[in-house]
């Protein structure tokens, strides 16, 4: 009896041990790419951001697989940070075929996990033409190799964006309608309009009207700290403003425009226009407040509150959603809220040393960038997902539009390979069809609500981006300078200076807005002197200036 128990337990332990080993074994098999001769090649990919996997029976995924003879099985980050997950991969030394390391990209490069691409890309015209010579140069690491392809921020031909995704001052459509579509150019005009509207409409849907909200939760406090650069007429360089003549970087906390802007905010706060709770709201509270439709305006980037807009649209309160405005302090200053998309050199799609078929992998990227494949990825199958009229213009029927709006349907019938090289805006080779259905003028107009049409007609605009400046033909060679800070290492003094600067600003900026009007000047001076003593602004600015000059030397031509 006893013996049999013992045998049984030994067996059990053995089986369990084996099953553990088996688990390890099968996992490593999955990771390697199997290229069955002549059949569909399967590649694995990992992206160090949260995302949704495309199911294997996805319709368009299989159409693409048939067309290019390859299929990509994507995996996304879950429950870990990018750095952690990449660190584990490096420690194990096994990678998927394709990888986008996000914040762990530099670690992948340092670990020698990525295959150098610079000698290979010439063979693949779509890849080669995807980036300009300049941009390829920017991606080159100090060791002379190019390890990854940045897949975002590219325009194909002309910019076709209809919605402003970046930062702006936003104002409720209802307010503009109420005031009979005035042109708002300055911060003063903006708050003046909000004041008048709030006085005329003290409650919205039974709750008190909120004039203006500034999100200030953790890293999202850029909504509070960076508007001085915009209202002074500079683009979103993020960490500093750059003087074009002298090519020097200057932090925008000490410029006179900053003082003017915050003095205005202080005035509005004391008038009760700015939400008294605004600096202590969490991101979720902010979004839920916006979703009630009683917030007249805010300064923010559109992707932060698009959930609130969706919620408002669902409740048929289109008039409570917002329109972007490019405000400045001085009406004679030209605003620069819109720019060409920023090119992020810090990360991108790379091919790893674990990939057994590097040329096959590059061919996949090349194919995915062709006209037909871009259409398949963004529009879907012709006739099934969209139609083409006799002039060659793409359009959708009402049913197709309905499908396109339905997230569940998209999950089963769309295959964008969303972290492979792509275009954020622009046109196919025919020059009439946009890559993104949302940006196609016909589709945009067809899906507008009546209220939205009224607002656009009120101004005589065709799309939301018309409310802002037309972006310059080309970004400055240093733009955006904030990308330089990612390359600073931990013990660089400018890094510490930046952290200290942020600490001081996080505490003092809400303070200067919240003090009584008579105390503003003294509080502002206190803030300025704290900033000067606690953060080494000179080291910080010098480091950025150096980077500006380096980029100008290297990329100007």
């Amino acid at each position: 009896m006893r013996k049999s128990k013992l045998i049984f337990s030994v067996l059990l332990t053995g089986v369990m041990g084996l099953s553990l080993l088996a688990g390890c074994g099968s996992k490593s098999q999955e990771a390697s790419s199997t290229s069955a001769n002549g059949k569909v090649k399967e590649f694995s990919a990992f992206f160090a951001v949260a995302g949704k996997e495309i199911p294997d029976k996805d319709r368009v995924k299989n159409v693409i697989a048939e067309k290019i003879g390859a299929k990509i099985n994507e995996q996304w980050l879950t429950g870990q940070t990018a750095k952690e997950r990449i660190g584990v991969m490096i420690a194990g030394g096994e990678y998927p075929d394709f990888i986008e390391g996000g914040e762990g990209t530099q670690a992948l490069v340092d670990a020698g996990a990525l295959v150098p691409l610079e000698d290979k890309i010439d063979k693949y015209p779509n890849i080669k033409n995807y980036l300009t010579a300049n941009e390829w140069e920017q991606l080159r690491k100090p060791d002379g190799h190019i390890y990854y392809i940045q897949q975002f921020g590219k325009t194909r031909g002309k910019d076709s964006q209809v919605q402003h995704r970046d930062e702006a001052f936003w104002i409720q459509k209802a307010v503009l309608e109420w005031a009979n579509y005035p042109q708002i150019k300055t911060v003063d005009q903006y708050f003046d309009l909000i004041e008048k509207y709030k006085a005329a409409n003290p409650t919205i849907n039974g709750q008190p009207t909120i004039g203006f909200d500034i999100l200030c939760d953790d890293w999202r406090y850029f909504c509070l700290e960076n508007p001085p650069q915009f209202v002074a007429g500079y683009p979103n360089d993020g960490k500093a403003i750059i003087d074009k003549a002298t090519l020097t970087a200057k932090n925008y906390n000490t410029i006179p425009e900053a003082q003017k802007y915050f003095k205005k905010l202080n005035e509005e706060y004391n008038k009760g226009i700015i939400d008294p709770e605004t600096f202590t709201l969490s991101y979720d509270q902010y979004k839920s407040k916006l979703s009630t439709g009683r917030v007249l305006g805010m300064v923010d980037q559109q992707w932060e509150f698009e959930d609130a807009e969706k919620a408002l649209k669902q409740q048929h309160m289109d008039e409570k959603t917002w329109v972007p405005l490019g405000l400045t302090l001085d009406p004679n200053v030209k605003p620069q809220y819109r720019t060409q998309p920023a090119f992020n050199t810090g990360s991108g799609l790379g091919i790893t040393t674990s990939c057994k078929d590097v040329d096959g992998a590059l061919k996949v990227i090349n194919d995915l960038l062709s006209n037909d494949l871009l259409a398949l990825r963004w529009w879907g199958e012709k006739d099934k997902d969209y139609k083409v009229d006799d002039k060659g213009v793409f359009y959708m029927t009402d049913e197709q539009r309905e499908n396109y709006r339905n997230q569940d349907w998209r999950q089963a019938n769309q295959c964008r390979y969303a972290y492979f090289p792509q275009y954020g805006t622009g046109y196919f080779d025919d020059g009439i069809n946009c890559i993104w259905p949302e940006q196609q003028q016909g589709e945009f107009e067809a899906t507008l609500s009546d209220n939205d049409k009224k607002v656009l007609n009120g101004y005589g605009y065709k799309k939301w981006t018309d409310f802002l400046n037309v972006p310059a033909e080309k970004n400055e060679p240093w733009f955006p300078i904030y990308s330089a800070t990612g390359g600073w290492s931990a013990d660089d003094p400018q890094n510490m200076a930046m952290l200290k600067m942020d600490e001081v600003k996080k505490k003092w900026l809400p303070k200067v807005v919240m003090v009584g009007e008579s105390d503003f000047d003294s509080t502002w001076n206190q803030y300025q002197s704290t900033l000067a003593t606690q953060a080494d602004l000179k080291v910080y600015e010098d480091a950025l200036t150096k980077e500006v000059k380096r980029r100008v030397d290297k990329f100007k031509n």
Partner: protein, 319 residues
């Protein structure tokens, strides 16, 4: 007396060698059974301490731990010259002491009161309800706290306004003076029921004869509580106190991180947040590790002091 003690010690020493082998033989099974746990402790508690070396280096994540540039005590120097570090240290200690006192007194008091409830069903019900918040994550709890204290539709402000105690809603998270209190109260609300479980179980092990004897002596319920129950659970209280004191520098992370904001960062940031900011955001793992080591050192010192204290008052202790 003194002599006696020394004598025994000597005696033990001589006997030790022979005894130990004999004892080990006798307790062979016990020793074998404990081996996995010793390995566990070594692997998961002591082996990671190799990472402390990072504090004496200029650590770059891409390189191995022994290929780094060594920098001696530089990181500690930076740490101790940074005024922020002392602010976060002060916050940590103050919030920990507030938490410890509040939750200690409340848990014991709650256990004593609950013990006096006569109806078993009512007692069980109250106990279950009281420890449920323990199972909520901090994200949810802080969400509740933010809602309750919000100046916009928050219930506390509505009550205060309704009673005409204030004329304008108070923004509790904009004024540094409220923060520690909020953290303390939230902790009590979340943990009081859970903390009282252990005291309740200690109370059940008190010999009922003592209560009867006290009754005969004419003690009422309050007197019994004071003179029988409380001394009965004193050893448990002391042990828990020592253990909690060792934990004092872990004043928490989530609650301060989520409830804190720029306006009150001078009182809301703890050592853990400091470590996160400098270690992860800034990428200065060495400095973060140095702060962590310093934190552990304080912990050890505090444990020793508390243990010493327990010893001197003649109570049960850890070692």
């Amino acid at each position: 007396m003194e002599l006696g003690v020394k004598d025994t010690k000597l005696h033990v020493k001589i006997k030790t060698k022979k005894n130990i082998i004999e004892k080990m033989k006798k307790q062979k099974t016990l020793i074998i059974m404990s081996i996995p746990f010793i390995i566990w402790v070594a692997v998961f508690c002591y082996a990671p301490l190799i990472g402390w070396l990072i504090a004496f280096q200029k650590f770059k994540p891409a390189k191995g731990i022994f290929d780094q540039t060594w920098c001696g005590l530089d990181q500690f120097k930076i740490l101790f010259t940074d005024p922020t570090f002392f602010i976060v240290l002060r916050n940590t200690l103050c919030m920990a002491i507030i938490n410890l006192t509040f939750s200690f007194i409340c848990s014991i008091g709650f256990a004593l009161l609950l013990n006096e409830v006569r109806r078993v069903l009512a007692k069980k019900f109250i106990q279950t309800v009281s420890y449920l918040p323990h199972f909520l994550s901090w994200i949810i709890v802080t969400g509740l706290v933010q809602m309750i204290l919000s100046p916009d539709p928050g219930i506390i402000n509505q009550i205060l306004l309704g009673l005409h105690l204030i004329s304008k809603p108070i923004n509790f998270f904009a004024d540094p003076k409220y923060f520690w209190g909020i953290v303390g109260m939230t902790n009590v609300w979340k943990e009081v029921g859970w903390g009282s479980i252990i005291y309740l179980s200690a109370i059940t092990s008190i010999n009922p004869d003592l209560y009867e004897a006290a009754e005969i002596d004419g003690a009422g319920r309050f007197k019994k509580m004071l003179n029988v129950t409380l001394p009965g659970i004193k050893p448990t209280i002391i042990i828990l106190l020592i253990m909690n004191i060792g934990n004092i520098v872990n004043a928490g992370f989530e609650i301060q991180y989520i409830l804190g904001n720029g306006l009150i960062q001078d009182v809301s940031q703890t050592v853990d947040i400091f470590v996160l900011k400098y270690g992860i955001s800034l990428g200065n793992y060495s400095l973060a590790t140095a702060a962590g080591i310093f934190k552990s050192l304080i912990s050890i010192v505090l444990i020793f002091i508390a243990n010493r204290f327990a010893k001197s008052v003649g109570e049960e202790r850890l070692f």
